[in-house]
Subunit: 477 residues, 2 copies
């Protein structure tokens, strides 16, 4: 049977999670490998998913007064070098353009790995007075980082993202923006992607190159590994000083503005796959699913079925992203195909249903079937999509809670990190040495200092000295 | 007065058209120069304009069944070289990446100047049977061509565009697609941008590198120069053969598919500026204007004015892209500012208007004032926006007709090309030699062989031999 054939083609997630992941990416036709090392081809289904993510986030940004701009993709070497920490962080992993046509360039250009330097170079020209502030800019683009090993969406040489870059009169305003944008990301994950996240601050070791502080949202994947899903950085006036950006404040004094940047990337598609997916393939949250309802006519050869299904499709297209499959593949093949693609609801309609003025709706997440009247079909779908969303969120949250546990000494940390996947909560003294040691002996990195602190013990899990914070630790993508 | 000050800052278009153009780009805050040679920063106003253009075109593409994808930005040198004419056309003008971090690459990568080769490399993997055809893909991205001299939007090293790439079972279907997409571009120009265009075919000399034929739409700018505004290419099966893309047809025979590509770029923003702009700045067609109506309250200090204007703004935001200016700049300054930015309609409302339950609407294109009742404000605005659109189109069409004239011999061609800007209609024998000679002696290039042919004379304007076609000739951007 075609259905079985398809299902068999995916590796089970328990058997080999990494292989399951790439199987889903390929079989759900999200992306495929390209002839360019480390770069992927994002296929129509993956691109439609990314466009829905982009449109959702973009309207959240714009509602808060942000404006989009389009910056050059190249950064001259001298510009990249302007801020010391930043260049140290990024120079080792950029692609260098050295020739234009036949001509050798006098100054190398790197393909942007991130655009702080370009934004600063522009802000220098357009910020003179406090009246010019805040500047709340964002751009949607792709960036390049020369990665050694790559995996579709999770880590690719070129990836797609948005990067917000803002400038403010005061440190307080910039910090408020940094926090606000982290909340936007967290709300988006919860409301649109059904992914629960931990909000917190990165340690100095893990923060962004050139930032004073980095905030992060961390999600837990099905296999117990963490995925950093969005970050928001506060820069203070470090870049402003390096780029000599000044403004006349309300007291007519020259000041440096305070800066933030924040980004979410196409790796969030990896988070969706690894949070909700199962052994039949992808499971998509309704808010961003390219197809929310797929219509599969049953016994298509019977008179009236195709017509009725087509009518329904036209009717539903006014309220939902809907697709009808009128190909001559078997119903079983179609079921498997749209399960693989994670379509939240399947609508089946056959001769008997038509007689009874009803259809069948099947949820992708738990395969629950409902027979619903065609009279109130929109309401039923609306309601079921909401139920799917909520169930996905609850399931992911329950799994995260089950996979999160406290440890209070080094042996426990090593033992658990080795045997029990998930988030580890443990106290930390604040010293880099302990962070490095935990990576070395337990293979975990600090994920974040969560805003919601808990008291696990009084002392650092590593050195036993007085603890400063409770941290989430784990293995990460 | 602030108004005069602003107006004075633009060079008059009669005095220096090129300077007028860059003044408008800068003062209307569409784009500014960046620290990266030949690359621009597209500012929020320019980006919003581009987003409106993108969304409009994108929905036209999708309505015809096209799907978006995202391809890598790099092309390995070997891949670019696969199709002989194509590499000859593009290799001299690409940016080469030679290093990733510290490591020297074994094979250079160029930053895509266009993506035929990448699409073919992907199509090779996903096309097996006639059931896989047609493939109707498009992508929105930026591309890089190493230009010597650049001007914002018109010719920049990096520019923004969409590139459609499709594969078909038969030559007929591919040619139909090529023509269909040219019509989509032409309709978009007419319906959304109010720009009249000539549809036609490029000569072999002017066609795209690797194409069998290139169709084009050509618009005439205010200064009498032509601007190629969108192109659509038919490739036959040349790339398919070079990339070994085959499919099993309906008779179970292996065939090469037939290919098209088509693109419209951010240079269309240059066309908007140079078609509709005037000495007060930009004039934007309502369908793509980032702000369609700007509300300027009059006598803002008088009680109730700001409140009423704000209420109107909220009300109109449901139907239009509307903005209110509540800054303490003078009304005169605001008038000049939004004229510079080309906002199609200005809504003025002051204490007397409020008393009379009315407001004033002023058209940007001809400064015509209407007093309209607040009761039917939406209808009045709708109607005026349509009038603005139609008037812009009629004006541009009248100017083009006035600036288009036939010539029938070489002396006339040289004389007219030197002294009379515009489109020149003249017969051509079809020989490259004549095309080259006309460029040399008259400084004109062939713009297109229009689909609507006219008979000017029996013989080629250059060599006097029997003519094959009537062509549009001119100086071009």
């Amino acid at each position: 049977m075609a259905e079985n054939k398809l299902v068999k083609e995916i590796t089970s997630m328990d058997e080999d999670f990494a292989k399951w992941y790439t199987d889903v990416v390929k079989k759900a036709e999200l992306a495929s490998y390209s002839g360019v090392r480390g770069c992927m081809v994002v296929r129509p289904y993956g691109t439609a998913l990314w466009e829905n993510i982009r449109n959702d986030l973009d309207s959240r940004f714009k509602a808060l007064g942000h404006e989009n701009v389009m910056m050059p993709m190249f950064i001259p070497e001298g510009l990249l070098q302007r801020e010391k920490d930043h260049v140290e962080g990024f120079a080792p992993e950029v692609a260098w353009v050295t020739h234009g046509g036949e001509e050798k360039l006098q100054e190398r250009l790197c393909v942007r790995p991130t655009s702080e330097t370009l934004f600063c170079d522009h802000y220098k020209d357009i910020i003179q007075s406090y009246k010019d502030l805040p500047k709340l800019y964002n751009q949607w683009c792709s960036v390049v980082r020369w990665e050694k090993t790559t995996r579709p969406f999770l880590r690719t040489m070129e990836f797609f993202w948005q990067e917000g870059h803002t400038m403010h009169e005061t440190a307080e305003q910039a910090i408020a923006e940094t926090e606000q944008m982290l909340n936007v990301y967290a709300d988006f994950c919860v409301d649109s992607l059904a992914i629960p996240v931990i909000k917190g601050k990165k340690t100095d070791k893990e923060k962004f190159a050139g930032a004073e502080s980095t905030y992060t949202i961390e999600a837990l994947m099905h296999d117990g590994k963490a995925l950093q899903s969005g970050t928001s950085h506060y820069f203070g006036d470090g870049f402003a000083r390096a780029f000599d950006i000044t403004f006349t404040d309300r007291n007519n004094t020259l000041q440096y503005p305070h800066q933030t940047s924040w980004g979410m990337s196409s790796r969030i598609i990896g988070a969706i796959i690894m949070t909700h997916g199962d052994n039949s393939g992808l499971v998509l949250p309704p808010a961003v699913a390219p197809v929310q309802v797929v219509i599969v006519p049953i016994a298509m050869h019977k008179p009236g079925v195709t017509e009725k299904a087509t009518q329904l499709c036209e009717r539903l297209a006014k309220s939902f992203r809907v697709k009808i499959d009128l190909t001559d593949n078997s119903a079983g093949w179609k079921f498997a195909e749209y399960e693989m693609k994670g379509v939240p609801l399947r609508l089946e309609i056959g001769p008997k249903d038509i007689e009874n003025n009803q259809c069948v709706l099947v949820r992708r997440d738990n395969r629950e079937k409902s027979f619903v009247s065609l009279d109130c079909l929109e309401e039923s779908i609306e309601c079921l999509l909401k139920q799917v969303h909520d169930a996905l969120y609850e399931k992911a949250l329950a799994r995260r809670e089950e996979m999160t546990y406290p440890v209070s000494n080094l042996d426990e940390m090593i033992e658990n990190a080795a045997n029990r996947p998930g988030f580890i909560k443990a106290m930390w003294c604040g010293e880099l040495a302990c962070e490095e040691k935990l990576k070395e002996v337990a293979g975990v990195t600090s994920r974040c200092i969560p805003f919601k602190q808990e008291h696990i013990s009084d002392v650092c899990v590593c050195c036993g000295k007085p603890a400063k914070h409770m941290l989430y630790w784990g293995k990460a993508y």
